[in-house]
Amino acid sequence: MSNSSSSFLKSSLGKKFIMGFTGLFLISFLVVHVCINACIYFNDNGETFNMAAGFMANNIIIKVVEVGLFLGIIAHIVQALVISMHNSKARPQKYAVQNQAVSSKWYSRSMGLLGTLLLMFLIVHLANFWVPTKLALYGENAKFVGYNVPDGFAGMKENPFEALKTVFANPIIVTVYLLGLVSLFYHLLHGFQSAFQSFGLNHKNYTPFIKSLGFWYSLLICLLFASMPITLFLGLIK
């Protein structure tokens, strides 16, 4: 079994399986993420949002899952690099003329590029929110500019909602986020249904459903995410 599983993971099919598996895991994370963030639409001066954020920051299960999440992202990226390197060796001499547009979608062919953009965006995103939160929680001063913790939130040192507003007051950052979300949309558009194909789930009765689910999922998630910096920037959310 051990021999078999290692050969499975080393095979091209096994690698794709890992890509799909980690991808779907990240897709499920996005649902949680967007739900928490959507709490700002209670428009209650961030009260609900801060409550949810506080829960996420302190719950022990979430903390464990968070480690898994990072491992998932790393596995997804490493596997993507390994596969891309292997793939580029599979065609050393390129075509002089290639007409791929007729046979496949540009974003299906550009998952590596979209993924790289997403990684860059992710670094910005983590620097904006995750690092400050961790610093606020565990940092030496445990105090970060822009955070203002209301009373009554045990363990929560700062106010994440205020932080949101501060960050998204910057039009450049808002633009970066919107571009990042466009990349995310196309990455998901291919990735969602592709994961099912890699698991071997392709059936004439169900695949159209999976594909449309993937489309609506990608659209909804990205629109919801995109609405947040926009509404905050425009001051529609108080």
């Binding site: 078999s4 599983s5 050969s7 499975f8 095979s11 091209s12 099919l13 096994g14 690698k15 794709k16 399986f17 596969i83 292997h86 793939n87 060796k89 599979a90 065609r91 050393p92 001499q93 390129k94 075509y95 002089a96 003329v97 290639q98 007409n99 791929q100 007729v102 046979s103 496949s104 979608k105 299906s108 062919r109 998952m111 291919h190 249904q193 592709s194 194909q197 890699s198 698991f199 071997g200 789930l201 392709n202 059936h203 004439k204």
Partner: protein
């Protein structure tokens, strides 16, 4: 049916052998009838080259009716040319216009090294097939053919997978030069039949291992192979192979 003849500019990949570099060489051709097949247009060009005592362009072709899978040209960036559902030999010149420039290249993949000009070595497919693309039944040991009823849908699906002509257009088209569609078609053909289930796990494992060893890229599910496949082999076969492979690795 003739709509007047055409003059064309061809840019064709010439490469003397696998160990030498190649390049695109420009050849004008005149007076090409729209009723000619693409390969007949090559015949005309080659006759001209012979007349000039130059060596003709080497390209694979045999049946010229779209079934042997020998012909293999990337025409203006598309495997088997601008039309779908046909092989290069079934392409006719009426698909082009007077004055067109046509770029013709060989299949390009690490696992399909160029032998000469537009001819490539597809023996990697042979080795994959030899690893498991069969049912181990010796001649003479078979029971009566109707002892084993097979649901029509399964038989038809198996047939649709078996329609693969092994031309390699899937590899040529795939951005990663992946052979998944070919291997999946072979795996599926047998996996769908009760006769083939006996060896299903070893078959898929051995064929995938050989596919990887040959240096093909991996599948990114862009579905380009399905679009360019002259026989319309479905992506469902790739999913089936993924499934078979997963199960095979889970059970032993």
């Amino acid at each position: 049916m003739s709509h007047g003849n055409m003059n064309l500019t061809l840019k064709i990949w010439r490469q003397n052998s696998g160990s030498e570099p190649g390049q695109l060489v420009t050849y004008p051709v005149k007076d090409i009838s729209p009723d000619m097949s693409f390969l007949e247009m090559f015949d005309v060009l080659n006759e001209q080259l012979v007349a000039k005592n130059e060596s003709p362009i080497v390209f694979d072709h045999d049946c010229r009716e779209g079934i042997c899978g020998m012909c293999s040209m990337v025409i203006n960036g598309r495997a088997h040319g601008p039309k779908t559902g046909i092989t290069t030999c079934q392409l006719h010149m009426r698909s082009f216009k007077d004055g067109d420039t046509i770029v013709v290249e060989p299949w390009r993949a690490q696992a399909f090294p160029v032998i000469k000009d537009l001819t490539v070595d597809r023996s990697s497919f042979e080795r994959i097939q030899a690893k498991g693309g069969f049912i181990s039944v010796n001649t003479g040991t078979a029971q009566d053919a109707n002892c084993l009823p097979i649901p029509k849908d399964d038989a038809d699906a198996s047939f649709n997978a078996a329609a693969c002509i092994g031309c390699g257009a899937c590899v040529a088209t795939c951005k990663n030069a992946s052979a998944m569609l070919f291997v999946a078609a072979k795996v599926s053909q047998f996996a769908l039949l009760p006769q083939g289930k006996v060896e299903a796990t070893t078959r898929v494992k051995n064929m995938v291992a050989q596919m990887d060893a040959e240096g093909f890229g991996s599948c990114t599910n862009t579905s380009a192979c399905e679009v360019e496949c002259p026989k319309g082999i479905s992506l469902e076969n790739i999913a089936r192979m993924n499934r078979e492979y997963l199960v095979a690795n889970c059970v032993d």
